[in-house]
């Protein structure tokens, strides 16, 4: 039987990996983030609407 603390850490690691995967999907795959072209400070939103 897995100890409660071990189970807790497994859940935490899975949650972390899920969070990182989501960020990867949002940023790298979809390119969904705010881009500034300095020095003109022109804001370009690349998110897919």
């Amino acid at each position: 039987m897995i100890k409660k603390t071990k189970l807790f850490f497994i859940v935490l690691v899975i949650t972390t990996l899920a969070g990182i995967s989501f960020t990867f999907y949002k940023t790298v795959i979809k390119g969904d983030f705010v881009v500034i072209d300095s020095p003109e400070e022109e804001i370009v939103d690349t998110s897919i609407e």
């Binding site: 990182i20 989501f22 940023t27 790298v28 881009v35 300095s38």
Partner: protein
């Protein structure tokens, strides 16, 4: 639009996504060795400290730090904007993890595994909040595609605040641990070293990050990880000096691995000034390692020599003791044999005198001769016991095993001794649990001697009351017990009663015993693969001697 565009003008030269030309030369030689050392060191600690909680937490610090370093390296060398942004976003997660693990580690190091679930809950909330913030604009609010860097969001105010709070928290835990461990000097020293190391590491790390962010000069961040070197150094020193991770060779191993990494890195360096720096670091580590190794070898040799000397002395002493013990046994055997013959004569002639074989004896004469007869009988018993002990010790005791009826033997003994008991005003009874037959395969004469001894002891050491002899069965074993209302005994007496020449509480009252009866009983019963023991509720509360065969 931005997905496939690269930062700068250089095409990625490594794996199609990285470009090393943009990174400062010292980056690799300051970050990579620290990264490798951290991973190796924490892994060794984890394995050799048997996966203890504190070693797992130290591993957590090292791994979070290693991931943070890797992430920073990616930020320096990544060619694609999306990769850069992703790395910028992840920084917060690894940075927070370092601080969370640091608090948990110092608390476990000082207080053991007594964790407070409230504090753990707070740390968990901080971590989950960070994880949720990672992909949002509160973490990295925008990305500058010209300078190829992220712009930090408002969540970082919380991150830097948490870092400063953690720093103070670690210091407070350390100081509190130092104050509460007044008696333990070694523990205090360990706490001082660990707290100093961790504080310096966190201080260098957070200050360089905060300063780099304020001034937008990210090369300052390169200084930060050097705090980890101080921390690792102090951890290693603490382990070697105080063995706080149950290891001895640990420090030397870590330093040797560090040297390997440093020497290996020289192969890839072209710039002579960088080579000088690396050689200098290698020399310093070599000096430290050399001193530690030489001291360790000296200690080992001294201890080994001392152990060999002690071992030889012990061997000699043991041989002498064996010789003395043999001599004593031989002396006892000889003396007993020499004593037995005259005693038999004394016993025989006094018995004949009492019976009137040499003419009528008067009342006073009869009393005196009876005293001589009783004393010679007692002396003969002591001599017999001594002879039996010497036989046992020389391995010369011979047992004539044959089936016999225990009930009959026990009844005979009780009948023989009942007169003596009644003379003292004691009531003696004999009972069985009605599970006859009580047939036993053993040396009847020797076992008879054992039972006789036990009942005789009870009579001797019981001033008034009763003696109850019970014969019964316990599963497939026969149990013989003698319960008296005598003087009883303490726990300590119970432990030593069956040893040679041991005297119980009764020894003070009855000085006549040889102190061998119970020792012989234990040996004889043991030879029959049985056991004998005593139970007593305490002094003055009687006792029960039990033989199970």
């Amino acid at each position: 639009m931005l997905l496939n565009s690269i930062c700068g003008t250089e095409a990625p030269s490594f794996l199609g996504i990285f470009d090393f030309s943009t990174a400062p030369t010292l980056l690799f030689y300051s970050y990579i060795p620290i990264l490798i050392i951290s991973i190796i060191l924490s892994s060794i600690i984890l394995v050799k400290d048997n996966y203890s909680v504190r070693s797992k937490l130290f591993f957590g610090i090292a791994m979070s730090f290693a991931l943070w370093i890797l992430n920073v390296l990616v930020q320096w060398v990544s060619s694609y904007h999306v990769g850069l942004m992703f790395a910028w976003q992840l920084t917060v997660l690894f940075e927070i993890s370092i601080f969370i693990f640091s608090i948990a580690y110092i608390r476990t190091f000082i207080n053991g595994n007594n964790v407070s679930w409230v504090i753990n809950g707070i740390l968990l909330i901080v971590y989950i909040a960070t994880l949720i913030a990672v992909p949002t604009i509160y973490n990295i609010q925008s990305y500058d595609s010209v300078y190829c860097e992220g712009s930090l969001g408002i969540f970082w105010y919380f991150v830097y605040g948490f870092e400063i709070l953690t720093l103070l928290w670690v210091l407070i835990i350390g100081i509190k641990g130092y104050i509460t461990n007044k008696q333990d000097y070694n523990k205090r020293r360990q706490i001082t070293l660990m707290t100093t190391g961790l504080t310096l590491f966190l201080l260098a790390f957070s200050v360089s990050n905060i300063y780099g962010e304020i001034t937008q000069n990210y090369e300052v961040n390169l200084v930060g990880p050097l705090g980890m070197v101080v921390f690792l150094g102090l951890v290693t020193y603490t382990i070697v000096r105080y063995k706080s991770f149950n290891m001895r060779l640990f420090g030397s191993q870590a330093l040797v691995y560090s040297l390997w990494v440093l020497v290996l890195s020289l192969i890839f360096i072209n710039k002579i000034d960088v080579v000088h720096v690396i050689v200098l670091i290698t020399l310093v580590l070599l000096i430290i390692l050399g001193i530690i190794l030489i001291r360790s070898i000296k200690n080992e040799i001294t201890q080994k020599e001392r152990l060999q000397k002690i071992s030889l002395e012990l061997y000699d002493a043991n041989e002498k003791l064996k010789g003395l013990d043999k001599l004593k046994t031989e002396f006892l055997s000889l003396a007993s044999h020499q004593l037995r013959s005259p005693l038999t004569a004394i016993k025989g002639y006094t018995s004949m005198l009492l019976e009137g074989s040499f003419g009528e004896v008067t009342g006073v004469q009869k009393d005196t001769i009876d005293k001589v007869f009783q004393s010679s009988k007692h002396l003969a018993k002591v001599v017999e016991d001594l002879l039996n002990v010497t036989k046992i010790e020389q391995g010369g005791m011979v047992y004539q095993m044959a089936p016999f009826d225990m009930e009959k033997t026990a009844k005979e003994i009780v009948d023989d001794l009942r007169i003596t008991a009644e003379k003292k005003g004691l009531v003696m009874d004999f009972k069985t649990d009605n599970q006859a037959p009580y047939t036993l395969n053993g040396d009847m004469e020797k076992l008879r001697q054992v039972f006789l001894n036990l009942i005789d002891n009870s009579i001797k050491y019981t001033k008034g009351g009763s003696i109850s002899v019970i014969l019964g069965k316990n599963k497939d074993k026969i149990r013989f017990s003698v319960t008296d209302t005598g003087m009883g005994m303490t726990e300590e007496t119970k432990q030593s009663l069956f040893q040679k020449f041991a005297r119980g509480e009764g020894g003070k009252v009855n000085a006549g015993g040889s102190g061998l009866g119970l020792y012989l009983a234990k040996e004889i019963v043991g030879a029959h693969k049985g056991k004998v023991w005593v139970e007593s509720p305490g002094v003055g509360k009687g006792s029960t001697f039990i033989v199970e065969l």
